[in-house]
Amino acid sequence: MSSSSAAVAEAAELESFRREARAWLEANCPPEMRTPVRSEDDYCWGGRNAKFQSEAQRLWLERMGQKGWTVPTWPRDYGGGGLSKEQAKVLQQEMGKLGCRPALWSFGIWMLGPALLRYGNEAQKKEHLPKIARGEIRWCQGYSEPNAGSDLASLGTRAEENGDHFIVNGQKVWTSYADKADWIFCLTRTSPNAPKHLGISFLLFDMTTPGVSTRPILLISGKSPFCETFFDNVKVPAENLVGEKNKGWEVAKYLLAHERDMISGIGDRTSRKPMGVLAADAIGRDAEGRLDDPALRAEIARFEVDEAAFAALMARAGALARAGQIDPAFSSVLKYYGAELNKRRLELRMSVGGADALEWESGRSDEGAVARTWLRTKANSIEGGTSEVQLNIVSKRILNLPGA
């Protein structure tokens, strides 16, 4: 077959997959799950103690989980959909067209899964991946510590090998939803005298293991999505070590790149209207129909230029990845820009909201929903590596600047 007829056949196959996917989504996605997400509370995180907002939400997770489409590109053997990247993109497009909500929000999907697929052994993959895919186990990330933030590799949580298990002692912080998670993937120090990057091991353990405790941290948003997590002589089976002992930093970095992709993709997509239109509706228009606040209008327009350019960059990064032409450090570009852009977005939404957005406890402001989101976004340029750390990575890995 010539390359062009192969391409034609491939396109036809993709179109037929598009029709199948659409038919399946139409038959299986409950109507309630085709409405825009209003707030973070609408997300389904799964887990042993999953609280579903509605029967529709439970059913949608069950169906998508069985189909493997919560993780469309993972192999079928591990609970995935076994789709190609092109098919997964088609599925995403069709879900977008129908307005289907994601069935599952999960650190297991975004962070641990990719790392296990690459570094996990067969038993670990068989044990953990299908439960992530079906939303049965909710994971949290044990990375940051009080004295290991941007300098993550200086972490001090100890794991001592003792026969067929490790004994873990120490403390993590900024553990997202640790109080709601079933399992943790955790960076521990197994070789205290080795150089800091060479003494770290990547462990998995059940949060109900004796000696694990969590304490939510009240944030400036008035919410507590993060916890302090304490380990007091926690016994972890040796088989829960991912990759080799003392080589956990490699796994940690690989996972961080996926975390960056996740954070760079965040942003309020609950509304399809441009921010400028929402602002004009709220603030008013001049005789020519323009937002009646010229300086704010100009600032919003400039933001929307950057937002559209960033959307193009995300699409291009995907295309480059599919073509095998992307720099591995490119996730730092996306993370840096995406985080800063999202902070700008919420600064502007606060300006648009004006006095109304300042009401912290009121039905009019939906209990300060915009204000709380605004405050939450301040963490975007801190979590998953600060903006400054991302710029360090770009300097060193992409620009090859000296001594960085």
Partner: protein, 372 residues
């Protein structure tokens, strides 16, 4: 949307880059400037570019061109931007070729497109009339007269105006828009070359009672307004690409300097203050490139690309502006000298920003298109 270059486009890029770096580096522009060259570009060089397909990139194959896409034309424009080479590519091969090709006028196409593709004619678009780009406010008037129309008005920033064979003039006809094809040597046409800060070509053109036959009317009314907007967007993509090329080259030179210049006993590129600025600029360049490719592809798909084009032009303007400012600043004093080439980039980028609307113009256009 592909958003990555095809193999053919990568080859086109590499051959254009190699050719221009060897035959028309920034020194070529400097020589034309210093010699006060009457034409402002080198016809012999343009002939060689024509052999490589630059001139006819957008001319349909039926008229002797390559019939390629705007994405391909943008690849060439970006490379021209890297070397700042003065060529009638934008005026003739992009704006002129596209306007005539989409005019629906077979006689004009037959008369001009083969000459454009062969590099034997220069065509200039006479649109702007004031210091700021305001395509919706045209004062040049075409009044009906016996056997045709009479044209009166003054145009500014007519790129390649003083070397043009044909002027494509946007004017008011009654209450609507019209486009006329005017012989640059016609009676009543006065062309004043303006020496610009970037040493590239531009002219002021005055039309004083220029008598035109019926055949001079290329398009009128709604059709003319739509044609003009589409052609301007084509040009904006090419200008954005040229901006990106100039920005990439300025950045590459600056980055090399950061790795070589020593102060305080170390390379200045070791200082985090400079590293972070360089990295932020790199992010901006990637954003600009993605926006540009998206706009070009949307134009090629024949979709409503207006918003995407404004996003691309605004982003490429701001990014290139930052790139040349950082270029001068990070080079320190040497960046301020005429002997060093960074100043040529700064000047060219200044002009390219103004051409067919700066970043503020396109922010405003996006807001209007979005309905606020």
């Amino acid at each position: 949307m592909a958003l990555v270059l095809t193999e053919e486009q990568t080859m086109l890029r590499d051959s254009a880059r190699g050719f221009l770096a060897a035959e028309a580096p920034v020194a070529h522009l400097r020589a034309l400037r210093d010699q006060k060259d009457a034409k402002g570009f080198a016809p012999a060089l343009w002939q060689r570019c024509t052999e490589m397909g630059f001139a006819g990139v957008l001319v349909p194959e039926a008229h002797g061109g390559l019939g390629l896409t705007l994405t391909d034309a943008a690849v060439i424009a970006e490379e021209i931007g890297r070397t700042l080479t003065p060529l009638p590519f934008l005026s003739t091969s992009v704006l002129g070729a596209r306007l005539i090709a989409e005019s629906g006028r077979e006689d004009l196409k037959g008369a001009w497109l083969p000459r454009i593709a062969a590099g034997q004619a220069v065509v200039a678009l006479a649109l702007d009339e004031a210091a700021r780009h305001r395509p919706e406010k045209i004062a040049t008037t075409a009044a009906a007269s016996a056997g045709g129309t009479t044209l009166d008005g003054e145009k500014v920033l007519v790129v390649d105006g003083h070397v043009a064979d044909l002027l494509l003039v946007v004017a008011k006809l009654g209450n609507g828009t019209a486009v006329f094809a005017v012989d640059a040597k016609a009676k009543g046409v006065a062309i004043e070359r303006t020496i610009m800060l970037d040493a590239h070509n531009a002219a002021r053109v005055r039309f004083s009672g220029v008598s035109l036959g019926r055949e001079a009317l290329v398009a009128e009314g709604e059709a003319a307004a739509a044609l003009v907007e589409r052609v301007l967007d084509t040009g904006r993509v090419a200008i954005a690409a040229e901006l990106l090329g100039a920005a990439e080259e300025a950045f590459a030179r600056t980055l090399a300097y950061l790795k070589e210049r020593q102060q305080f006993g170390r390379k200045i590129g070791e200082f985090q203050a400079l590293q972070h600025r360089a990295s932020m600029l790199f992010c901006d360049l990637e954003l600009a490139r993605a926006a540009l490719m998206q706009a070009a592809e949307r134009m090629d798909e024949g979709k409503d690309a207006r918003a995407a084009v404004s996003v691309a032009k605004a982003r490429c303007c701001r990014t290139a502006n930052l790139a040349v400012q950082e270029g001068v600043q990070m080079h320190g004093g040497i960046g301020m000298t005429d002997a060093f080439e960074m100043g040529f980039f700064m000047k060219r980028v200044r002009v390219l920003q103004e051409l067919l609307g700066d970043a503020n113009y396109h922010d405003n256009r996006l807001a209007t298109l979005s309905g606020y």
